[in-house]
Amino acid sequence: MSDSHATETRPVNVEGWAPGAFAEPVLAEEQHVHPTVWTYVKVALVLAALTAFEVSLYYLEPMLGSVVPPLLLLLSAGKFILVVGFYMHLRYDGRLMTALFTGPLLIAAVIILTLMALFLQFVPRVTMAAH
């Protein structure tokens, strides 16, 4: 049985395995440059400002009306991305790491929206009495 992809061979040890075949390789991601401390502080300041803005919107909701909920969700998503991207270093890690996290995250988001729709959370309460 031949493997057409086999282009190189390693010397094998007495156990029949090539040394290093299962070892964690020296990785490109280990060599990447992490953000500086100042970057982390700047992100924290932005996060604090976004939180202050969120709370302001909460108190301004009687004046601003229905624009507030989407804005709050947008700000929350912004904070989420900042923490995941900079503090969790996902911005600097491999794409597979991003996929491993965002895949389930998207499924969770779809489940939340589907269940909310199923329980008529997007239907105004006034018309709900008709159901």
Partner: protein
């Protein structure tokens, strides 16, 4: 059909097809955090689906309102703890063990402050507002969601404390920076879950149902 591939061929095949080029432990942590997204997603889905469906007060908008200033402080405490955590990771990567220890302790302290705030909030809701876990749908979904988050914060605090103890025993060094980084991933995840809860549960709750 039998396969009689030479071990050297196995090694080559593994090289070609099984190497992700990623650190295994970190990858496992991201997979775990992905599963945690599903876990908290189900709890949030439950809360959001049952929102406004309680038949008996207290619930937001009826004889109940959240203490937004207090929760804002709690949310800020958790955000600052994330900064402390990332500074601990930066310190260990520089080989600064003393700095790592200080920032880890700061993260633990802020985490415990958050937990204290949650305990105070739960006690207030239970004693002053009469909201128990079995009072109504709101009470059940609220306590389960925020309670599980609090349990995750508790696990995080214990994990970070164990790292501090390891550092005092001289078992934490620049070469083990991945240990701190992985603990940091968990801690930041706990933070982003609160970012979502803060908006969905607290800020999007109906106004004006206060006592």
């Amino acid at each position: 059909m039998t396969t009689t591939a030479h071990p050297a061929q196995h090694a080559t095949v593994f090289d070609d097809h099984r190497r992700t080029g990623l650190i295994n432990r970190k990858t496992v942590m991201w997979v775990f955090l992905g599963s945690e997204c599903m876990f908290f997603g189900s709890l949030i889905a439950t809360y959001m689906s049952l929102r406004g469906r309680s038949l008996n007060p207290p619930y937001p908008g009826a004889e109940f309102s959240f203490d937004i200033p207090f929760t804002t402080v709690s949310a800020t405490v958790l955000l600052i703890s994330s900064l402390a955590m990332v500074l601990a990771v930066a310190a260990i990567q520089r080989g600064d063990i003393r700095g790592t220890r200080i920032w880890l302790l700061a993260t633990c302290g802020l985490g415990m402050l958050f937990l204290g705030g949650q305990f105070y909030e739960f006690t207030t809701f239970f004693v002053a507002e009469g909201l128990g876990i079995d009072t109504n749908i709101f009470g059940s979904s609220f306590y389960v969601l925020t309670g599980f988050h609090g349990a995750h914060v508790t696990v995080g605090v214990l994990w970070l404390l164990s790292l501090v103890i390891l550092s005092f025993r001289g078992k934490l060094s620049q070469s083990s920076s991945l240990d701190v980084e992985i603990a940091g991933l968990y801690w930041h995840f706990v933070d982003i879950v609160w970012i979502v809860i803060f908006v969905l549960v607290y800020l999007l709750a109906p106004h004006g149902g206060g006592h």
